[in-house]
């Protein structure tokens, strides 16, 4: 038997070429992807991270609709200058319920991963309507319609059901709700319950009054509610400053 390998065999056999090409690509893919299912340190074990409430989730949808991610990242890298300006570096755990995540790689504006609580609601509202009235050198576009456009709350259950399908623990059944109570506490679990979604959205918007106008619920309410929760879920004062070094 003559096993004299010739590259010509592959070059002249389109079926063999296709199979071997796929094999070569699969090896590359498997080496990069497969370990993520086994490595147990990818997502840090940290308290406080929860899915977004219905109102925050609507705000996030508006954030994406308006293309905020084109200029703003949500990923504080572990560098000294970023730590000093933005705060603790972002953890993988903090975007575990983001679909899709908003890490980004382009910063025309500042990183927003920990913008929550840094400014008042009023600043956020005024800054979104007319950025240069607050920051003269800003190149951000004006988003005045957010304040005047009423928030469509009718489709919130559909939006949450879609996210549930990709793994966000919004609860639909009693069993799921109870699991959420154990995991996130009752107050949060109630807001993550899809049958209550529209009511809890309206309740949070009325209580928070994010846009400073109690007479209606606008897209501004939702977006500011979202911005104000960014990066605030984990209480880093509970962890040592090198608590997450071992996870990398």
């Amino acid at each position: 038997m003559n096993i004299n390998f010739k590259h010509e065999w592959i070059e002249t056999n389109i079926g063999l070429l296709a199979v071997l090409t796929m094999l070569a690509i699969s090896v590359g893919g498997l080496v990069e992807i497969a370990p993520l299912f086994f490595i147990n340190k990818t997502i840090e074990k940290v308290d406080g991270v929860r899915p977004y409430t219905p109102l925050e989730q609507r705000g996030r949808d508006i954030y994406q609709r308006e293309g905020c991610y084109l200029c703003h990242s949500q990923m504080i890298r572990p560098f000294r200058d970023e730590k000093l300006r933005y705060g603790h570096y972002s953890l993988a755990a903090e975007s575990q319920y983001d679909h899709p995540f908003q890490w980004g790689s382009k910063r025309t504006g500042p990183d927003l991963a920990r913008v929550g609580g840094k400014y008042s609601n009023e600043w956020q509202v005024q800054h979104l309507i007319a950025p240069r009235s607050m920051v003269p050198e800003s190149v951000m576009p004006n988003f005045p319609w957010l304040k005047t456009t009423l928030l469509d709350t009718s489709d919130i259950t559909d939006r949450m059901k879609a996210l549930r399908k990709v793994g966000v623990p919004y609860s639909l059944t009693d069993a799921e709700y109870k699991a959420n109570v154990d995991k996130f506490g009752e107050t949060v679990a109630k807001q993550l319950h899809i049958p209550n979604a529209q009511l809890s959205l309206i309740a949070q918007a009325n209580f928070g009054n994010y846009d400073g106008d109690r007479s209606n619920i606008t897209e501004m309410d939702a977006l500011v509610a979202y911005l104000q929760v960014l990066g605030t879920m984990v209480d880093f004062s509970k962890y040592k400053d090198d608590a997450f070094v071992n996870d990398r």
Binding site: E8, R77, K83, D242
Partner: protein, 306 residues
């Protein structure tokens, strides 16, 4: 055919022949290219050995390179190379360099810091950086504030007080401005009288008769403005009520109005709608006590410190 034979002497062909006479040149890669390729392979292997590389079980191979740092608990730790450990090391280095200054900040009183020329330079540079990152979005780069939104830090008027301790308290705990809505309690005419009275306190053109009536309302129980603003209308820094006598304005855009009527109307607007704004976030969680102290001195030195 003869031409082809000539070329085949200098360049080899792959040996295939299609359609009888169609052949393919076989040009080998340049030697320098081949050896560069081998070098990159060797580089990759060395890289794998030094830095974290291959997944292994539930973790990965950490590599030979280590990073040593000191954490907040004072423990010295050595960890295989990663950017988070590297950040710890970088922060350690900066902390050592800044420690003499921050130790001094912690040990000295505000007045001592203000008088010390060395510390003044530090406050100016460190304070400016902190102010630009954290305060300037609202109070603006020079601390001049925004009329109707955020207080001017460079003038002589302080809602919550301009002493070191009061500024420190404002930064640490944040603030929230509040004034009741009077449009539901008072008639439009009464609000107009009050506005004229408030205008008169700052020497702005006003209707004397209305101002006199406003004076009564101000000090009476119906409006009870004196509760918060004081009988002398000079305000109360404990609760952040404004001094109404100094012609310095934040919520009513009096300087922006051209006419006396416009100025009174601006005041009327604030009385009618009240305030539930002027929120300043608490910085205690975001900034260290030393950073807040640096900012306190920096804000005090902006021009209005008392």
């Amino acid at each position: 055919m003869s031409e082809q034979k000539l070329q085949s002497q200098t360049v080899q062909t792959t040996g295939h022949a299609w359609d009888g006479d169609l052949q393919e040149y076989n040009n080998p890669l340049p030697v320098w290219w081949v050896y560069t390729f081998y070098l990159t392979v060797i580089f990759a292997i060395v890289y794998w050995v030094i830095y974290p590389s291959w997944p292994f079980g539930k973790g990965w191979i950490g590599g030979l390179s280590n990073v040593t740092y000191v954490n907040s608990a004072g423990e010295t730790r050595t960890h295989s190379w990663n950017t988070r450990a590297l950040l710890m090391q970088d922060m350690n280095k900066a902390a050592v360099e800044q420690k003499p200054y921050f130790d001094k900040v912690a040990a000295m009183s505000y007045a001592q810091i203000a008088k010390d020329p060395d510390m003044n330079g530090f406050i100016l540079s460190a304070g400016k950086a902190l102010f630009s990152d954290n305060c300037a979005p609202c109070h603006q780069a020079g601390g001049q504030g925004v009329m109707g939104f955020f207080a001017n830090l460079t003038d002589d008027d302080w809602l919550y007080g301009g002493s070191y301790d009061q500024i420190h308290a404002s930064i640490t705990n944040g603030r929230h401005g509040y004034m009741p809505t009077f449009s539901e309690v008072l008639a439009p005419g009464q609000i107009d009288q009050l506005a004229n009275y408030v205008a008169s306190l700052s020497g702005i053109g006003h209707d004397a008769a209305k101002a006199a009536a406003g004076d009564v309302l101000f000090h009476g129980e119906a409006a009870a403005c004196y509760y918060c603003h004081g009988a002398n209308a000079k305000g109360n820094t404990e609760i952040g009520s404004a001094n109404l006598t100094d012609n310095i304005w934040l919520w009513a855009n009096v300087p922006g109005a051209d006419s006396a009527e416009g100025k009174v109307a601006a005041i009327r607007g604030v009385i009618a709608s009240g305030l539930n704004r002027g929120v300043m976030p608490a910085w205690a969680g975001r900034l260290s006590p030393e950073q807040i102290k640096v900012l306190t001195v920096y804000v005090h030195e902006l021009g209005g410190g008392q």
